[in-house]
């Protein structure tokens, strides 16, 4: 029993990170229709920037904030220089552009930072808590509560604030949104900044547990993308459920079957779900206009 609880706890921790990455995918997808495969690089940038700022003698909190700001700047630049000029390109072209951006950012990181594996100390020590026979690291709680805070904050942003509603309007119909006075270009910029910030935030939270290096981005992007699709592309709630599901499936497979196949299990489940629900769990069916 305590074994099961242990797997659930570790699944939720990893799942929270996937959910944050998936949320980043969802926000950019809603604003621009682009699946941003460089989403994982924001997580890497968050972790790596914090590591190097800490090394430079900056205290933890300012370092983390600066790392998130750096990722935001990269996200905004990416949108301005690579995504906006390619507006209207096909899905395949856009996928290649964002994968190109991901390779570019990885290449830049290996030059600006280095190729070593890094970590920094946990926020509140490494003394694990014991819950019902299972243990959980304090840092895992930081990750889980961090994700809860981000999702709650965004829920209120989207439902209560004018800007949030403008973002939703753009997602629904960019032309109509522009007609009622929404600055859709600003919404695009905001979405990239927001996604980058969320990714970097996840990177800062998870680095003490999983370590970071210049090349962690692509694997995270794949898992996050899979989670976003599992939940239903474009649905923030779907991103949350998809992320947690992928995390839990991985943890259960690693625990009960074989850790070699933990990555495979998540994809088998996703293929299964897509066969039954071709638009993910919470996705809307798109109607093609003729």
């Amino acid at each position: 029993m305590s074994e099961l609880l242990q797997f659930i706890l570790s699944g939720i921790t990893v799942g929270a990170v996937y959910a944050l990455v998936a949320l980043g995918f969802t926000i950019i997808f809603n604003a621009s229709g682009v699946v941003n495969f460089s989403q994982g690089e924001f997580v890497m940038l968050g972790g790596m920037s914090t590591v190097f700022l800490l090394d430079a003698g900056v205290p933890m909190l300012p370092a983390a904030v600066a790392a998130i700001v750096i990722a935001c700047a990269v996200g905004i630049t990416l949108n301005k220089l690579a995504i906006q000029p390619a507006r209207g390109a096909s899905v395949v072209s856009l996928i290649i552009i964002t994968i190109g951006a991901s390779i570019f950012l990885r290449g830049a990181a290996q030059i600006v930072f280095d190729k070593q594996l890094h970590r920094f100390p946990s926020f509140s020590g490494d003394e694990p808590f014991v819950i019902g026979g299972a243990t959980i690291l304090p840092q895992s709680l930081w990750v889980i509560f961090g994700a809860v805070a981000v999702f709650t904050g965004l829920y209120f942003f989207f439902t209560r604030s004018l800007m949030g509603k403008a973002v939703l309007a753009t997602a629904n119909n960019p032309l109509a949104a522009r007609l009622v006075g929404v600055n859709t270009n600003f919404v695009m910029t905001l979405s990239f900044a927001l996604s980058a910030a969320i990714g970097a935030f996840a990177g800062v939270l998870v680095t003490p547990i999983t370590l970071t290096s210049y090349d962690i981005g692509i694997a995270l992007a794949l898992k996050g993308f899979a989670a976003a699709v599992l939940g239903g592309m474009g649905s923030p709630f779907g991103a949350l459920v998809g992320g947690l599901l992928v995390g839990l499936i991985e943890a259960m497979t690693a625990g009960y079957i074989s850790s070699d196949y933990k990555d495979a299990a998540a994809f088998i489940v996703i293929l299964g779900v897509l066969f039954v629900m071709p638009h993910g769990i919470f996705g809307r069916a798109t109607v093609e206009r003729v």
Partner: protein, 319 residues
Amino acid sequence: MRTLSPKYATLIALIALIAVAPLFFPSTFYYRIGALIFINGLAVIGLVVLIGYAGQISLGHAGFAGIGAYACALGPIYLGLPPVLSLILGAVLSGAIAWLVGRPILRLRGHYLAVATLGFGILIYMVLNNESQLTGGPDGMPVEGLGLRELLKSAGFEIKASKLWYWLAALVMLVGALLALNLHDSPTGRALRSLHDSEVAARSVGIDVARYKLIAFVISAIYASVAGSQIALMNKFISPDIAGFLHSIELLTMTVLGGAAMVFGAVIGATILTALPQVLTALHDFENLVLGLIMMLVMIFMREGLVPSLARLVRRRER
């Protein structure tokens, strides 16, 4: 004056490229790169059928290359098959798997199709990587050579392995190109291209959309599989990386970089992306940076790919 049909123009251009290139090779090492280009070119021509003709996407085609490669590695050991038959077995296997997997997967569209093919590719990679008692795991395994060079030697004809592979891979690619070009103008090709433009319109004129998507998927899987087999036979060694996500992306980028809608463009894409890393190794750490930059720039400024965009530029100049 009658102008040359695109089919023959493409074939003549490819043959000229293959025949003339060796004149500029400073050493035999370049024959190897040439062979690699033609092998990648074959896989990419398959993707032209899937992406350029039928308008579908795949982020997992390296999986089929992996099946083809490991068929050549395992066939001689476990089934006692000669390498050539192993290659055919791999192609048949890939086609069959593509047919089975394609039926449910190809109902999906756009990003959902992307993630499904991605998942398929990763599953193949994981099996090759984890079943180490069979496949040697991440370290890879040796592959028995084709034996053609020994055969030629016994007939009194000696040729360096790299040169032999250059001509062999070129021949196989030409056959692949010819088949793909013929397909383009056949009723099946027209059906594929119609569902690229609009699935609804294709369906309303009586085209069995699901069936034609499946045909394109199976064809491209077989091309990828034969390419994978050739890599295994040429290198006499294979590791699971051939089925990895990055290889899938490489193939996809080659296809779109040159121009997904045409066979010649795809071969140019394969040439650039195969030769580029050889050039970039001189830049060491900047390799990823430059590769990513090129991918972005071409896709932003030449959306249809290099060859169609340049061709249009030339045509405009002529007018």
